[in-house]
């Protein structure tokens, strides 16, 4: 197995990251924003795995595990914030939360 150019794996990670970025920037529904964030995080994990595979080291997978942990914590907090937001404003429109401005 293997023998896939590292370049291609990294480019795939780059594409996924950019797609996630577009999602974060264009969506108004906060659940979508969070989902796009997940896409971006996952792309980062992919990059680590590709690098780990290139050097045949476990470190890439370990970094991925840490990203996974981060994602789990982030989603738990993020979703509970969404629930709070929905309870308070009855909407998932992120533009409603624009009171914190200069």
């Amino acid at each position: 197995m293997g023998a896939i150019p590292v370049e291609h794996g990294l480019i795939l990670a780059g594409i996924l990251f950019s797609l996630g970025l577009i999602g974060v920037l264009t969506r108004r529904n906060i659940v979508f924003v969070l989902m796009s964030l997940e896409v971006m995080l996952n792309a980062c994990g992919l990059a680590f795995i590709v690098a780990g595979s290139r050097w045949e080291q476990a470190d890439g997978q370990i970094m991925f595990l840490l990203i996974l942990t981060l994602a789990a914590a982030e989603v738990a907090v993020g979703l509970s914030l969404i629930i709070q937001m929905y309870r308070r404003f009855q909407t998932v429109d992120i533009n409603v939360l624009s009171e914190l401005k200069g």
Binding site: G2, A3, S18, G20, I62, F64
Partner: protein, 166 residues
């Protein structure tokens, strides 16, 4: 193997595009799960079986269930479709798309210089485990603290406010 990689990569990209353009949130979530599973396949192809399985168990299996759970709780199913469509209309997507395109171009430029092939060997569960609890034990401790903090925060935030609060 090569074929499997490119196939999975294509699925991942298409599914991710599906995530960001869908108006039905449940469908978007299904696309996201699909994308994650495709990435899991890529992990396996790249010789990272533990990461592949954890991607499926934790990411696709647990984190996404949380999303679905919240969608169900807030009942965001189909009623929000019209709203999503309205929100997506307009030119709001042009600038982000351009920016992302520039970023992608830069990434492609930077990454095209990378040489090397992915390894033929699998890095097994044992190897990851021994390194994880050897040199990376501090990271494990920190991750556990992070998870604990996340747990407490999520519990506290999602709790129904008591009668006395605010």
């Amino acid at each position: 193997m090569m074929l499997l990689f490119y196939l999975a990569a294509a699925v991942a990209v298409i599914a991710t595009i599906g995530v960001i353009v869908q108006t039905n949130i449940v469908h978007a979530l299904i696309y996201l799960i699909l994308s994650l599973l495709a990435v899991a396949v890529i992990f396996y192809v790249l010789g990272a079986p533990l990461a592949a399985m954890l991607e499926a168990i934790v990411y696709a299996g647990a984190i996404m269930v949380l999303f679905l759970f919240v969608i169900m709780m807030l009942n965001l199913g189909q009623s929000t479709r019209q709203q999503e469509r309205a929100w997506l209309a307009g030119r709001g997507w042009i600038v982000p798309a351009l920016l992302a395109a520039v970023l992608l171009g830069q990434l492609l430029y930077v990454l095209s210089g990378v040489e090397g092939m992915s390894a033929a060997e699998q890095v097994g569960v044992m190897a990851v485990g021994t390194r994880l609890f050897g040199p990376y034990v501090l990271a494990v401790e920190l991750a556990s603290i992070l998870l604990l903090a996340g747990l407490i925060t999520a519990y506290h935030l999602a709790r129904k406010p008591k009668a006395g609060d605010e």
